[in-house]
């Protein structure tokens, strides 16, 4: 799933990470050199975790299930040839999805249930959408949207392989879609805003992220993310929940975005606690010269060195009226 680091981190990026991590910067830099674990998620729409485990072990693969309450999450400990996990019969038949553990967390936080109406605003390539369908047991409806037709085709292919029958795939720019859905009176029980981001958390698997990183992009992404989350909150029913997530550490794309909507929807939304089976750190309440709401401490920062995963950020927001 990962490759060794073969790139230089930009000085400004390093400086920012030092500000975030202090003395722990060394353990962070160390883990970036280590390839990612091979993690998969059993697709319970097609097979039980016990059955999949038995099949994969019969192939000679050493598998562990790191979380007692989530037997569908598995790590393959055996050294396999590149691409072997994606070429197995079990993968081709849709019995599992190759998915990094950090990327499974937004759905564990959102907890979509059967019969709910759920929106996945930036759905492609479909790891989280198919996980949603599995949690919902294909009952209820997912509207899975993406802005790019190319990415939508990948989403469609993954949803098909997983046998996710309760999803409608749509193509529209996210903010515009929310506006139109609002005009037509749609209100959702749950929404996932897994926002486009600068991807700082994916350095272990994508060297392109380090090469492309720049602070201007972070500012422009932050504006887009605020727009997406604000628009999504407009179509969340009272009592409904949104998970906002990114695969970046930049506070401008995380805490700042959540703080923005807390101000925009004062007294209407609140940040909820998230319980996850891995080590999470509290969201920041200060960054550079900025102060954020104390509620944001309830959000989760996932650093790669804490759990041997990629980096992530999650916040769960409930609409209280």
């Amino acid at each position: 799933m990962g490759s060794k680091r073969e790139y230089e981190l930009k000085p400004l990026f390093l400086e920012r990470m030092k500000k975030l991590l202090g003395k722990e910067i060394n353990s962070y830099l160390e883990i970036l050199k280590k390839p990612l674990q091979n993690s998969i998620r059993c697709n319970t729409l097609k097979i039980s975790p016990e059955e999949l485990l038995s099949r994969l072990r019969n192939k000679g693969w050493e598998i562990i299930q790191p979380f007692k309450n989530h037997p569908e999450i598995m790590i393959i400990k055996t050294d396999l040839a590149p691409g072997e996990i994606g070429r197995s019969m079990e993968h081709l038949l849709g019995y599992y999805y190759v998915q990094e553990i950090a990327s499974m967390l937004p759905i564990l936080a959102l907890k979509p249930k059967p019969r709910e109406l759920v929106l996945d605003l930036a759905a492609a390539p479909g790891s989280k959408t198919s996980q949603m369908a599995a949690e919902m047991e294909n009952i209820g409806t997912i509207i899975a949207n993406d802005v790019s037709i190319g990415r939508l085709k990948i989403l469609a292919s993954n949803m098909e392989r997983c046998g996710a029958t309760n999803a409608i795939l749509t193509k529209k720019e996210g903010i515009a879609l929310c506006k139109r859905l609002k005009q037509e009176g749609f209100l959702f029980d749950k929404i996932l805003v897994d926002a486009p981001c600068s991807g700082e958390g994916t350095l272990r698997s994508s060297s392109a992220t380090a090469i492309m990183w720049n602070p201007k992009t972070i500012r422009s992404l932050s504006r887009l993310q605020k727009g997406l989350l604000t628009s999504a909150l407009e179509i969340l029913r009272p009592g409904g929940e949104i998970v906002y997530s990114t695969c970046t550490h930049a506070p401008e794309e995380n805490e700042e975005v959540v703080d923005f909507v807390l101000n925009e929807f004062k007294g209407i939304v609140k940040v909820e606690e998230i319980k996850l089976p891995i080590k999470c750190r509290s969201g920041l309440t200060t960054w550079l010269d900025n102060q954020y709401s104390k509620q944001i401490e309830k959000s989760c920062r996932i650093y790669p060195q804490d759990n041997d995963t990629e980096g992530f950020f999650l916040a769960k927001i409930r609409r209280i009226k």
Binding site: L92, L117, R161, A164, T165, L177
Partner: protein
């Protein structure tokens, strides 16, 4: 819907009748949505047709549910997912493959097997349902799409 058409009760019943005739399947659990003239999708969501029409006013709907069958002449050919989703109901025209044959099948190869049947048959290996093949005098024709095929072993 212009691009996708939700089949009405009568049209759905016609599909179910054909599925029953061919494979013993009595009901499809959800809406059947047709894309073009031949591709059938199964949608198990709980939006009403009226709500789906409202959604279509908001945005282009690329797909609903999962592709599960194709109309070929007057018959139906189930996809891998179609055979998996409906497996509990399938009780005729099933062909059991051994492990080696299942591997060849998943590589996309036609199988030189005389089944004694003609037309579409469900391919199965133990608990795995592997889509549909077309049996003729001397062989079983393969329809596994390229992106779902096992790779040939190198060397």
């Amino acid at each position: 819907m212009s691009y996708l058409k939700i089949l009405n009760q009568k049209e759905k019943a016609e599909i179910e009748y054909k599925l029953h005739e061919q494979f013993g399947i009595s009901s499809v659990p959800g809406m059947i949505v047709m894309r073009g003239q031949e591709r059938l999708f199964l949608f198990s969501g709980n939006l009403s047709e009226e709500e789906i029409n409202k959604l279509e006013k908001c945005t282009f709907i690329e797909r609903m549910g999962v592709y599960f069958a194709k109309i070929v002449d007057d018959s139906l050919r189930l996809s891998i997912e179609g055979s998996q989703i409906l497996k509990e109901q399938i009780d005729k025209n099933i062909f059991e493959l051994d492990e080696k044959q299942a591997e060849e099948w998943m590589k996309g190869h036609e199988l030189p097997i005389k089944t004694g049947s003609h037309g579409f048959i469900i391919m199965k290996h133990e608990g795995d349902f592997l889509g549909t093949g077309k049996a003729s005098e001397e062989k079983i024709g393969n329809f596994i799409p390229k992106n779902r095929r096992l790779k040939e072993k190198q060397g």
